[in-house]
């Protein structure tokens, strides 16, 4: 739109009708606008900084000068002690990460299969579709902690030959069982939002049902559900901590061991910090993907 102004203005020496090349100079009025805009944004930044300093400073001084602050900081923020136990907690966090990687890959696989089965209309699939629906309903409706307890303590209690007693493996299994149900629903909702005309267009081109799914429906569906899936990934990282209840030495369990030894809660705070170190960037990234995907969908709506 600026070019429009530039073309009409008198200092434009280049008279070629559609050349928007170097000849354009901002007009006096535009220069004025730009100066005014700059001044305004400088003022906004100033106001934001000043108000932040006042508000945050007040909060901080209230906390620090409060009578309980000394005991509080002794119990939760004993940094020297915290850094002493940090290596053990980080080691434990390795277990959380490992759990996350294994679980996320398996959940992606099983969740996708469940979603495909539930959205399939083929008659041969009917019994599986029913089973998948029941599965999803059941496992989305039970607190994950219960599933971890049931799998982690229940399966070894069966004393079956060849079935593992390894709490780590049982813990992962419980996480996968639960999250597959969550993720299946997310992917299914993505598949359902792909416009039916897209399927019709693909089938009209002669693509088979499977090809339509693979090249047309799934790519669009997965792109659309990437933000909620990333949200689930953040939850998954945190929820791997729940397997500590089975005795898996993850970050939480490591912190618990230290804390019960010293009657100080700084190890928990350290563990919380480590989780945040991973989850905050991931959350920010999720936010950005979500914003982008909304922009993209809006752009499509306009076309």
């Amino acid at each position: 739109m600026n070019q429009e102004v530039g073309r009409g203005s008198e200092n434009s020496s280049d008279s070629a009708p559609y050349s928007f090349g170097g000849a354009w100079q901002p007009s006096a009025i535009e220069i004025e606008r730009r100066i005014a805009r700059k001044a305004r944004s400088r003022k906004n930044a100033l106001v934001a900084t000043a108000s932040s300093i006042v508000v945050l400073g007040t909060l901080l001084s209230i906390i620090i000068t409060s009578p309980g602050w000394k005991t509080l900081s002794e119990t939760f923020f004993k940094w020297a002690y915290g850094f002493e136990v940090l290596p053990k907690i980080i080691l434990g966090f390795g277990a959380n990460l490992f759990l996350t990687v294994i679980a996320a890959t398996s959940v992606a696989f099983f969740g996708l299969i469940l979603a495909l089965v539930r959205t399939s209309r083929s008659p041969a699939i009917t019994p599986f579709r029913l089973l998948a629906t029941v599965y999803v309903d059941v496992f989305r409706g039970i607190p994950m902690l219960l599933i971890i307890l049931l799998v982690g303590f229940g399966i070894p209690a069966l004393r079956l030959q060849g079935v593992t007693n390894n709490v780590f493996i049982l813990g992962i299994m419980a996480v996968i069982i639960t999250y597959s149900a969550y993720v299946a629903e997310v992917i299914r909702s993505g598949i359902l939002t792909v416009h039916p005309s897209q399927r019709a267009a693909a089938r009209s081109l002669g693509l088979s049902n499977m090809q339509t799914l693979r090249y047309v429906v799934l790519p669009q569906a997965l792109r659309r559900v990437t933000p909620p899936l990333l949200n689930d990934l953040v939850s998954l990282i945190k929820d791997t901590g729940l397997v500590s209840i089975l005795g898996v030495t993850d970050a939480i369990r490591a912190a618990q061991i230290e804390s019960s030894r010293s009657f100080n809660y700084t190890p928990y705070v350290m563990a919380a910090g480590i989780f945040l170190l991973v989850t905050i960037p991931l959350t920010r990234y999720t936010d950005r993907t979500l914003r982008k995907s909304i922009e993209r969908q809006n752009a499509q709506g306009l076309a």
Binding site: L205, L207, A303
Partner: protein, 249 residues
């Protein structure tokens, strides 16, 4: 007389108790264009979808090059490979660039190599003046360009018959013309076509035969001049009058 590309014999289609098509019989000889006109809800889209086997007919026979494609033993995918279809909207795959949209079927359905498919796609794009849009994503194209790409995409598999369902009704009048001139071009090159449209002026230009549909029945058919200017049935006249008043003639 040679076998027509498409022949419908007493085709009937109902959704539940609502009869949408009744006693539809037409023949479409090679290199001709048949245009369906009729009010909204008269069954034009349904008819095209039945021919494309996207809907199952309830009675009658549909023949493509003499073969009964309504037979239960027929593989719909096989038939659709020989037909091109463009819908009113949502034709293009938004996650693929223009050229990827076009090469999808030649590669995945017809087993062409990627390079070969791209060469042919670019030839088609050049022919229809869209070469510079090859790498663009559909949301960056105007509605008219999108519809032209959709037409090109259906041409890429060299269909025996092209089914065009109100391909301009989602467009504003300026864009309508560029899409229609693309269709005229195809007609001049001998493409066999079946169209549903609200554009009577356009129908007059490309149609070899115009069929007026009302409540799922063909009420009147014939040369475009006969139907559009000297309709015999009062319903046809009434419909054309309404279209005329809406400024579409």
């Amino acid at each position: 007389m040679s076998i027509p590309v498409l022949a419908l014999e007493k085709v009937r289609k109902a959704f539940g108790s609502e009869v949408v098509l009744e006693d539809i019989s037409i023949t479409v000889p090679e290199h001709t264009a048949t245009v369906f006109i009729g009010a909204s809800g008269s069954g034009k889209s349904t008819l095209l979808r039945c021919i494309n086997l996207l809907e199952q007919i309830d009675d009658g026979v549909i023949r493509l090059d003499g073969q009964d494609i309504s037979d239960v033993s027929v593989d719909p995918d096989e038939i659709r490979r020989k037909l091109g279809m463009v819908f009113q909207s949502f034709n293009l795959f938004p996650h693929m660039s223009v050229v990827e949209n076009i090469i999808l079927a030649p590669m995945r359905v017809h087993g062409k190599s990627r390079d070969e498919a791209i060469v042919e796609a670019l030839e088609l794009l050049t022919r229809f003046g869209l070469r510079e849009k090859a790498e663009q994503y559909p949301d960056r194209l105007s509605g008219g360009q999108q519809q032209r790409v959709a037409i090109i995409r259906s041409l890429a598999v060299k269909p025996r018959l092209l089914l065009l369902d109100e391909i301009t009704s989602a467009l504003d009048p300026v864009l309508v013309n560029e899409v229609l001139s693309t269709v005229r071009d195809l007609k001049e090159h001998g493409m066999t076509m079946l169209l549903a449209t609200h554009e009577m002026g356009f129908a007059k230009q490309v149609a070899d035969e115009v069929c007026f549909l009302e409540h799922g029945r063909i009420l009147e058919w014939g040369k475009p001049e006969e139907i559009l200017e000297n309709a015999k049935k009062s319903q046809t006249k009434e419909f054309l009058k309404r279209v005329h008043e809406a400024g579409r003639l």
